[in-house]
Structures are given as structure tokens and as C-alpha cells.
């Protein structure tokens, strides 16, 4: 059971990394990252296929009997198709969204299985899902903080360059455009992490039988943070904005994050209460 749990967790980590890779490729059109993400996803597929064959050939059980079994098959099919699309069709966006969905389904399968086997140690996995959810969210907050600091430096450097006075600082601060780019990149990493974190949260809420409110201020807050940063990416990528205005937006976004982190935690009775 322990080994199986280890493999299941490893699978989730690889799948998550692949998802982050596809997101970065989606944002930056980075062929190298795409290649890495593809190989990670291939590993996921290989492990899933192994489990599937094991069930079919050894246990003589084609996994469509229960809802849970079909979830597994469903996830496997999604991974398979997205691999084929990635290889054959030059439509990258669909691969990312398929994987996002596939990851959700797979996680749902894993946690539901764990819930059913709660007496055999599955409960631990459910708790781990919660821990992962919180960890991922906090790590993403870390990246958002870095991004915020870059934006802040960008605003300051913009100010210095306009003032034409503090040249001592101008030379020492980073290059204006580079600060802007780094701030953007940090968000590019933060958003998929938070997204996966929220997926973990939803799945955990589903399987832990805890009272879960979609309208809980914490849930809404986290989703709000995600939306705020997705809007940043849209402004940047779709509308093509950059520079000072976007740095100010990013600073405001960080404020939303802080409010969610501190204030909403006080108001919500979630997680460990």
C-alpha cells in the first residue's frame, strides 16, 4: 500500500509539473519548456497505462464498473489524447486546457479512491491533499510577492529616470524593462501553481466531507486572487500592455492577495477549525 501511495503521489507531482510547463509554454511560447512538459506528461501516461494494464490483464477487471473506475479511465483517455494532439497538431492552447481538466479528474479519482479506503490509510492521503493545497497556494503567493517587489522596483526606477536626479540609484537598480519582464515571469509561474492549489482545495473539500461553502469568504478570496492575476496576464498578453500602469495594477493585485491572506483567514472558519 505504501509503495502504491508513493507512486500515486509521484504521479501527481509529475502531472502538476507538466501542467506548470504547459502553462508557461501557453504564456511565453517556449518550445523548450513545451518539450519538457511533453516528456513529463509522457511519464504520467506511462504510469497510468501501467496501472490500467495491470487492472485489465492481472486483475481481469476493465475499469468501467464504478464511477470511480471510470474517472481513472477518463483521466487516462484525456492524457492520451492531449499527448497525441501535442505531437500531431500545432494547437498548444487545447493541450493546456485538456491537461488542466485531466489533472482535476485524475486528482478526483485519486482522492475518491483514498476516501473509499479511508480505513486502509487513505485518510492520510486526504490530509495530504489538504496540505498540498495550502502549500501550493503559499508557494504561489511567494511568487506573487517576488513579482510585486519587481513591480515596485519598476515604479521606483521609472520615477528615478523621470526625475533625472538620483543617478546613483538609477545605475544600481535593475534595467527598467528587465524589472517589468521579471515581474511578469514570476506571475507566469505563480498563476498555474495557485490554479493547481485551488484544484487540490476543491477536490479535498469534495472528499473530506467537511462543510464546504462555495460562498465562503476564503474560497471566494482565493479565486478572486487567481482572477486578479489572470486579468494581469490577459492585460499583458492579449491587450499588450506593459510598463508603469501594469506595475501599478500588479501592486494593487498584491494588496488583494494580502487582504485574502490575512483578513479573510480571520473571517473564514475553514481548514483547521
Amino acid at each position: 500500500m505504501i509503495e502504491v501511495k508513493l507512486i500515486v503521489e509521484l504521479l501527481l507531482i509529475i502531472y502538476g509539473l507538466s501542467l506548470v510547463g504547459y502553462f508557461i509554454d501557453f504564456i511565453q511560447h517556449n518550445q523548450k519548456v513545451n518539450k519538457i512538459a511533453f516528456w513529463l506528461l509522457s511519464m504520467v501516461w506511462a504510469i497510468q497505462t501501467f496501472f490500467l494494464l495491470y487492472q485489465v490483464l492481472i486483475e481481469k477487471n476493465f475499469p468501467i464498473i464504478t464511477l470511480n473506475d471510470s474517472l481513472f479511465l477518463y483521466a487516462w483517455v484525456l492524457v492520451t489524447i492531449s499527448l497525441i494532439i501535442n505531437k500531431l497538431l500545432p494547437i498548444n492552447f487545447i493541450v493546456f486546457f485538456m491537461n488542466l481538466f485531466g489533472f482535476f479528474i485524475h486528482l478526483l479519482y485519486v482522492s475518491t479512491t483514498a476516501q473509499q479506503n479511508i480505513h486502509k490509510g487513505g485518510g492520510q492521503l486526504v490530509n495530504e491533499i489538504l496540505a498540498t493545497h495550502i502549500t501550493l497556494a503559499i508557494v504561489s503567493y511567494g511568487f506573487f510577492t517576488v513579482s510585486f517587489l519587481f513591480s515596485l522596483m519598476h515604479i521606483m526606477q521609472h520615477h528615478f529616470l523621470k526625475e533625472k536626479k538620483s543617478f546613483k540609484w538609477i545605475w544600481r537598480f535593475g534595467d527598467l524593462k528587465v524589472l517589468d519582464t521579471y515581474s511578469f515571469r514570476a506571475i507566469t509561474i505563480g498563476v498555474p501553481l495557485l490554479l493547481i492549489g485551488i484544484i487540490f482545495g476543491v477536490v479535498w473539500a469534495h472528499v473530506s466531507n467537511s462543510e464546504f461553502y462555495w460562498f465562503d469568504i476564503k474560497t471566494v478570496g482565493s479565486i478572486l486572487v487567481l482572477v486578479v492575476y489572470i486579468v494581469y496576464l490577459i492585460l499583458r498578453l492579449v491587450s499588450g500592455y506593459q510598463g508603469k500602469a501594469l506595475s501599478i495594477y500588479n501592486t494593487a493585485a498584491f494588496l488583494v492577495l494580502l487582504i485574502n491572506f490575512f483578513l479573510f483567514s480571520l473571517l473564514s472558519n475553514f481548514h483547521f477549525n
Binding site: L161, K162, F167, W171, D175, L176, Y241, Q242, K244
Partner: protein, 458 residues
């Protein structure tokens, strides 16, 4: 033995003289070899750039050294000595050391703290090494000077930041865009200033350049020169939508670009930074433009202000280097002092080893049936006795050499061990090896210590 610097630079000689007395890169190595063949010159390195021609030499006597270097310059350039003698600046020993260190750190350069000179010093030294015109002294001195130059650049702000208006503009552009590759540069006005600006930016990596001018023909001519595109003034607004840097230097009497024109363009640029440099007088660009977000407008005075500030920073760094420089001079002189001890130590070792080998022969004669192993053991142990016995004296000799009364103490040391002959032999050996010392004609017991003494030159 003395170190001499004979030469002139932009401070002492006008360009008419400098251009006549510059060694060409192709013949520099020949010059060094020829100078070395002159009497009295033991080692030499010639540094020749557009701003300075300087001969550094190790000579046995100052007056003959001065004479032969001057003579060499006159012969080489085929000019009468009188014609250039008044421009020459000659410094000796400490002064020459200090000058070399100042040159390699850029303190003596026309543009304070420029770093190119260090490369030129290094180049000259490498050439001289290749031509075998350096010896013990210059091999150490130039290595030290080059290392010091590098350290000064690294540890202080001497070479940081531009001290010319055009480089200040390039540096600012880099601060805004990170690098200039793939940046679109627009030159407004096809005059001389515009041309200079294009040259500078191309040198810094900008490839996409558009020349805009009132008369399109002029723009086309300039554009062709630099492999750029050209367009008419009416298209300026279109061009600006995609531009990153605009350099304006038209001869216009009135403002060419106003805030009202630029504001809607900047809005369409969606926050993409725009760097405007106005080097025209009267100004081409409305100062109010600076109020727009993500637009950075610098006029000629702003750039000059940056240059002034950077120069101030360089001067402050130069003062730091002056202090470091003194320490370098002291360190070099300490090293020179220890030079005299090297032959003494090897003579002592030589003597001890010969005693040991005589002893070994005597043992072998008296006990002929020693096995090979026994012989080896005895040999090893007798050597060990010598080494242990000499360890402390050798250390002490080194200390003495670096101390104040090196000459007398070392003499006493030599007397105690009775190695006068061996030391003399060692000096001769070293002189042959270095080649540089071959011209010391009379070697007496005291010569080694005199050398040490002389270089101290108060």
C-alpha cells in the same frame, strides 16, 4: 640598477610631436629588441598609444640609461634629440613605479579611469616578453601593475559609467531597455550630430535604425551609409508608434514634437517605454513631453549633468586608488629587496649539499660493502640533517632581506657561513640565466647588495 621611465604623453607633448614619435604596432617588437641591444639597458618595455609613448627600462646607471634611451628615440624616429627632448618627461625608480601604476589604472589617462589603457599595457608587456626584452624585475613589476589595474577596476568605481555625452545616452538607453539589440532607433535630422548618434548606437548593438528628415534625399544618403531605412518627416508619427529610441538633432528653430502630438501615440504604445534624446539647441522636443508615463526625455543639459556626476564619482574612486597605489609600491620594493637573498640561499644550499655528497663518498670509501639500500638510507638521513639544520637560517635570511638593514645583515650572514665564493658564482649563474644582468660588468662580493640598495633609492 635602476628603473627609468622616459617618454611623453598628451599632457607634455602636443599632438604634432606625439604623432611623429609613435611606434607602429608592426614595428614595436623590433624597437624593443633594438633598444635592448643598447648599452646600459638591461630590460625594457615600450608602451605606445595615441596619447602616450613611454619607454620603461631597467638600467645599470641612471645617466647612461637616460642618454641611451634618448639616443635610441632619436635614431629610431630619425629626429634630432633637441627637437623632442623638451617634451620628454623622465622619472626614476619610485617615480617610474608610481607612473606605471597610475597609467595602468587609468589615472594618467585623458579620460580619467578609462580601461582601454590597461589592455594596451598588457599587450606591450606580452610583446616584450615574447621578444625576451624583460627579465626578473619587469616580469614582476608589469605583472603586478596589470593585476593592480584589474583590481582597481573591480574594487572601485573608477571605470564605471559613461563620461561622455554620447555614452551617457547609450547607458541610459540600456538602463531603460536592458539591451539595445532589436531596439528600433529613430534619428530625427540628418546632420552631423545625427550621424554621430547612429555610429554610437550601432556600436552598442542597435541594428534597426530609421533616419527621418525634412528632405528625404538627405535622410536617404545618411541611411545608406549605415545600412538603415529612411523616411520623410510626415511619417514621423507612424514611425514613433513602433520606435524605442528617438534621437533628435534637427536645425529647426521651433519645437518639432509636442506633447499633444505624442500623447495619443504613446497611448497606442500601451506602456512600451520610449526614450527621447534631444541633442539639438534650440530644443526639438517639447519639455512637457516628459510628463507622459513611460516616456523618458533627456536633453543635452541632462546628459551633461550625468557626465559631470559620473566624473565626480570617478575622481572619488581615483583618490581611493591613490592610497592602494602606495601600498603597491611598498610591496614591489619589498619584493626587490628579497631579490638579493635568492642567490645567498641557493649558495648556502649548494654548499651544504656538496658537503653532504663529499661525506657520502667518504663513507662509501670506508665501508665499501654497503648494500644499495643501506646507501640509500644513509644518503637520505644525511640530507635530512642538512635540511633540518638549514631550515631556520633560510627563513631568517628571507626575513633579514625584507628588513631595514638588509645589506649589512646579509653580509654578516654570508660571512658566518663562509659562502662568499658560492654567492658570487650564483649571481653569475643568475645573470646568465636572466640575460638582463649580463651587462653588469664587475661583479664583486658587494654587487648583489648594492643592487638591492640602489633600487631602494630614497
Amino acid at each position: 640598477m635602476h628603473i627609468l621611465k622616459v617618454g611623453f604623453n598628451y599632457k607634455t607633448a602636443p599632438v604634432e610631436i606625439r604623432e611623429k614619435l609613435t611606434f607602429s604596432e608592426q614595428t614595436l617588437h623590433e624597437a624593443m629588441v633594438e633598444l635592448k641591444a643598447k648599452k646600459s639597458i638591461l630590460e625594457n618595455v615600450i608602451i605606445s598609444t595615441c596619447n602616450r609613448t613611454e619607454v620603461y627600462a631597467v638600467v645599470d646607471q641612471i645617466h647612461t640609461g637616460r642618454y641611451y634611451i634618448k639616443q635610441f628615440l632619436a635614431d629610431w624616429f630619425e629626429i634630432d634629440k633637441e627637437d623632442f627632448s623638451s617634451y620628454l618627461r623622465i622619472t626614476e625608480d619610485d617615480g617610474a613605479l608610481e607612473h606605471l601604476l597610475r597609467v595602468s589604472t587609468g589615472l594618467d589617462s585623458m579620460v580619467l579611469g578609462e580601461t582601454q589603457i590597461l589592455g594596451q599595457v598588457k599587450e606591450a608587456f606580452l610583446t616584450s616578453q615574447k621578444m625576451n626584452t624583460t627579465g626578473t624585475i619587469f616580469n614582476e613589476l608589469f605583472k603586478q601593475a596589470i593585476t593592480f589595474g584589474k583590481r582597481a577596476q573591480k574594487d572601485t568605481a573608477i571605470g564605471e559609467h559613461a563620461v561622455s555625452v554620447s555614452y551617457a545616452a547609450v547607458e541610459l538607453a540600456k538602463k531603460i531597455f536592458g539591451d539595445l539589440q532589436n531596439k528600433h532607433v529613430v534619428i530625427l535630422g540628418a546632420g552631423k550630430m545625427g550621424e554621430l548618434a547612429v555610429k554610437n548606437l550601432q556600436g552598442s548593438g542597435a541594428t534597426k535604425i530609421t533616419v527621418v528628415n525634412r528632405t528625404h534625399e538627405k535622410a536617404a544618403v545618411l541611411a545608406e551609409k549605415f545600412d538603415a531605412t529612411s523616411t520623410h518627416m510626415d511619417d514621423l508619427q507612424d514611425v514613433l508608434k513602433k520606435a524605442d529610441i528617438l534621437i533628435s538633432s534637427t536645425g529647426s528653430d521651433s519645437v518639432v514634437l509636442t506633447k499633444e502630438i505624442l500623447a495619443p501615440i504613446q497611448k497606442k504604445r500601451k506602456g512600451s517605454p520610449l526614450f527621447l534624446v534631444d541633442i539639438a539647441v534650440p530644443r526639438d522636443l517639447d519639455p512637457k513631453i516628459a510628463e507622459l508615463d513611460n516616456v523618458f526625455l533627456y536633453d543635452i543639459d541632462d546628459l551633461q549633468h550625468i557626465v559631470d556626476e559620473n566624473l565626480r564619482a570617478r575622481k572619488a574612486a581615483a583618490e581611493e586608488i591613490e592610497i592602494m597605489l602606495e601600498a603597491e609600491i611598498v610591496a614591489f620594493k619589498e619584493w626587490v629587496k628579497t631579490l638579493g637573498v635568492v642567490p645567498v640561499i641557493s649558495a648556502l644550499r649548494q654548499k651544504a649539499l656538496s658537503i653532504q655528497s663529499e661525506t657520502m663518498q667518504s663513507i662509501e670509501r670506508k665501508i665499501p660493502d654497503l648494500t644499495a639500500r643501506e646507501r640509500k638510507v644513509i644518503n637520505k638521513h644525511t640530507k635530512s640533517i642538512i635540511n633540518q639544520l638549514l631550515k631556520e637560517p633560510v627563513t631568517q635570511a628571507k626575513e633579514i632581506a625584507a628588513s631595514g638593514r638588509a645589506e649589512e645583515s646579509l653580509e654578516l650572514f654570508v660571512n658566518i657561513f663562509g659562502i662568499e665564493e658560492e654567492v658570487k658564482a650564483e649571481f653569475e649563474k643568475q645573470a646568465i640565466k636572466n640575460d638582463a644582468f649580463t651587462k653588469i660588468e664587475k661583479i664583486n662580493e658587494k654587487v648583489s647588495f648594492q643592487m638591492v640598495e640602489n633600487i631602494k633609492t630614497t
